[in-house]
């Protein structure tokens, strides 16, 4: 009875495991976590590798839980890229275990220079993981990825390095566009109010004051005092717009708007920003460039700056 049960289980597992089994002929298998990393690796590696991104559109990386199939992908990968700095909270132990078993596992945020990172106030040695919000900082992960790919697949090295340089140029262009349109917003209006603290790098790069209603953690709720303080700031600086995020509920943002209205100041929802995940697959907003373009354009236009409605390269769809 027991042996036949085990036999049945094994045969069922075999049918599942067969496509995952390793073979020498297949291209380099690369597995990534967030959509931003997946897109960046795709830009650099192109069709040379078989790429699997674990987190889709709208997935909160802080809360992402791997399933058996995700773990199977990770364990059969030749290279794993992840954000690190505690972003993928529930995956850290698993990835650490893979690293200590000698697998090529790269926490990108921890492999770029420390000066590019934003240290958290009062907690030395702890860094803000939301690096992708600043294209200039994000650019630093590009050579790290190219280097890692070249080390595992030396025949493709020159191809990786040349596409990496091209992509870096695109990121610089995006950064220049962002600087231009964001500095067209009057200096006193350069305040970005969002649901949680994902925009620290953005604020540092473009000189914006960033206010998150919740803290870094999506676990904590906004207190009455916090809302009150933010309403004060909105009214006194006559801020035109606040923003909702794709991965966080908008309830506390609504409370802000009503609070400001009660004080006779009208503030609108400036639009939805992509914070911890990109837009839908296959759209322009579903790429890293499109995501940042969308955020930058939406912020600049809502806060009274000049930016083309269709963004940096005329590809934005939902512009208003």
């Amino acid at each position: 009875m027991l042996t036949s049960l085990i036999a049945v289980i094994f045969s069922l597992i075999t049918t599942v495991a067969a496509p995952l089994a390793a073979s020498a002929e297949t291209p380099l298998r690369v597995v990534t976590t967030t959509g931003m990393i997946t897109d960046t690796v795709r830009e650099i590696a192109g069709d040379r590798v078989s790429l699997t991104g674990l987190m889709g559109a709208g997935v909160d990386p802080h809360l992402f839980k791997a399933t058996r199939s995700d773990i199977a992908h990770l364990s059969s990968a030749d290279i794993v890229f992840y954000n690190g700095l505690l972003l993928e909270g529930k995956l850290i132990d698993a990835l650490g275990r893979m690293k200590s078993a000698g697998k090529a596992v790269h926490p990108l945020g921890e492999q770029i220079e420390r000066s590019a990172l934003r240290e958290l106030d009062g907690f030395p040695g702890q860094f803000d993981p939301h690096i992708w919000m600043d294209p200039q900082a994000w650019e630093k992960i590009v050579p790290v990825i190219a280097q890692a790919l070249a080390a595992t697949d030396p025949t493709g090295a020159s191809s990786y390095h040349s596409t990496a340089i091209q992509y870096q140029e695109k990121l610089r262009e995006l950064d220049r566009y962002a600087l231009r349109v964001l500095s067209s917003v009057p200096p006193e209006s350069r305040v970005l109010i969002t649901a949680h603290d994902a925009f620290g790098y953005f604020g540092r790069r473009y000189g914006y004051t960033v206010r998150g209603i919740q803290g870094l953690s999506t676990e904590s709720e906004a207190g009455v005092n916090d809302i009150e303080r933010l309403v004060d700031e909105i009214v006194s600086r006559s801020i035109k717009a606040v923003f909702v995020e794709s991965t966080v509920p908008s309830r506390s943002i609504t409370a802000l708007i009503e609070g400001a209205q009660a004080r006779g100041h009208s503030v609108t929802i400036g639009g939805q920003l992509f914070s911890d995940a990109m837009g839908a697959n296959g759209t322009y907003e579903g790429t890293y460039l499109g995501m940042i373009d969308h955020n930058v354009t939406t912020i600049a236009r809502s806060l009274g700056g000049n930016a083309p409605a269709d963004g940096m390269s005329g590809k934005l769809a939902g512009a208003h």
């Binding site: 289980i9 094994f10 069922l12 597992i13 075999t14 049918t15 599942v16 495991a17 067969a18 995952l20 089994a21 390793a22 802080h62 809360l63 839980k65 791997a66 399933t67 058996r68 199939s69 995700d70 773990i71 199977a72 364990s75 505690l86 909270g89 529930k90 995956l91 850290i92 132990d93 698993a94 275990r97 078993a101 958290l120 106030d121 009062g122 907690f123 702890q126 803290g215 870094l216 953690s217 999506t218 676990e219 904590s220 709720e221 207190g223």
Partner: protein, 313 residues
């Protein structure tokens, strides 16, 4: 070694073992909780650990496992004692005492976190304390010749050992204190009259429960711990009136729920043509619920069918 078998040993065996050991510990402790009408104590402890985690983080400034575990266990034990204190001196029943204590502890945790840490630090108990079955994989040697050696044994994930230790501690506790636990669970007054310290037995049970529950959090996650404490024990309660049989049945039910749940969650979606597996802990909890439903309908004496047949309601 065949790659399918290797993949099974590397990815599936450790989570299955960890789940089974946790299931044994939880099912036995859960049996006593159900009999003592304290089923929700596991849930209460899972909420009460938050202030312990926050304080441990603030004191040590690190997220490493051991201080977080100690903080959580201390908070869990404190809450178990305070529930007893409130019940005794507040003159309210057990569930009300649990409600008071665990919501207070949880609120205290939120407040400390708000004031001290979460403004700047992502301090999520879900990441710090609650483990996940799927991530308990390992890299054993890839051929049978070197597989059976001491170094292989040393590379087994710590979670498997932790849950095994919890299971053996619980089994040892029950074997040694079998008679005392039996009397104090069913007739505390008699227990007292016979000269046993029923309160001491109770407190030991609570400490063991808090440690086992917190250890299982790190291994299998919070959903599964609460499900395994209550469901198999409640299922067994429908099937028997004898304590020994009750314990054995609840362990059997818990193990059946774990194995069927794991296989369904990990491989079921692929048989139906989906690419993504689903969460294992969730599926095991569902399976425990299914077993309970089955027992409620078809249990020999207390099932709906049996009651209809004998004309009892």
């Amino acid at each position: 070694m065949d790659s399918t078998i290797y993949q099974f040993i590397a990815l599936d065996l450790p989570p299955l073992l960890a789940a089974l050991f946790s299931a044994i510990a939880c099912a036995i402790l859960g049996s006593y909780l159900v009999l003592r009408r304290q089923s929700l104590l596991g849930d209460a402890i899972s909420h009460s650990v938050l202030p312990g985690i926050v304080v441990a983080f603030l004191v040590t400034g690190s997220r490493s496992t051991i201080p977080i575990f100690i903080g959580a266990a201390v908070a869990g034990i404190c809450s178990a004692f305070l529930i007893e204190v409130v019940r005794k001196f507040g003159n309210v029943d057990e569930s009300a005492a649990m409600g008071v204590i665990f919501s207070t502890f949880f609120a205290l945790g939120i407040l400390t976190m708000e004031q001290a840490a979460a403004r700047n630090v992502d301090l999520d108990p879900d990441c710090l304390l609650h483990g996940q079955l799927e991530t308990i994989f390992w890299y054993p040697p890839n051929d049978w010749a070197t597989f059976f050696s001491w170094s292989t044994l040393g590379s087994v994930p710590a979670e498997v050992y932790a849950s095994a230790i919890a299971a053996f501690l619980v089994i040892g506790f029950v074997v040694v204190l079998w008679k005392e636990l039996l009397i104090s669970s069913f007739d505390p007054a008699l227990c007292h009259a016979l000269g046993f310290r029923s309160d001491l037995i109770h407190h030991t049970l609570m400490v063991l429960l808090a440690c086992a529950v917190v250890a299982s959090f790190k291994t299998v996650g919070s959903i599964l711990v609460i499900a395994l404490l209550v469901c198999p024990a409640a299922t067994a309660r429908l099937c028997t009136d004898r304590l020994g049989v009750h314990l054995i049945l609840s362990v059997v039910f818990a193990c059946v729920a774990c194995s069927t749940g794991y296989i369904t969650a990990a491989f079921g979606p692929q048989w139906l043509g989906y690419e993504q597996s689903v969460n294992v802990a969730g599926m095991i909890a569902v399976m425990s619920g299914v077993l309970l439903g089955g027992a409620a309908c078809f249990a020999p004496r207390y099932g709906i069918v049996a009651r209809r047949r004998t004309g009892r309601r």
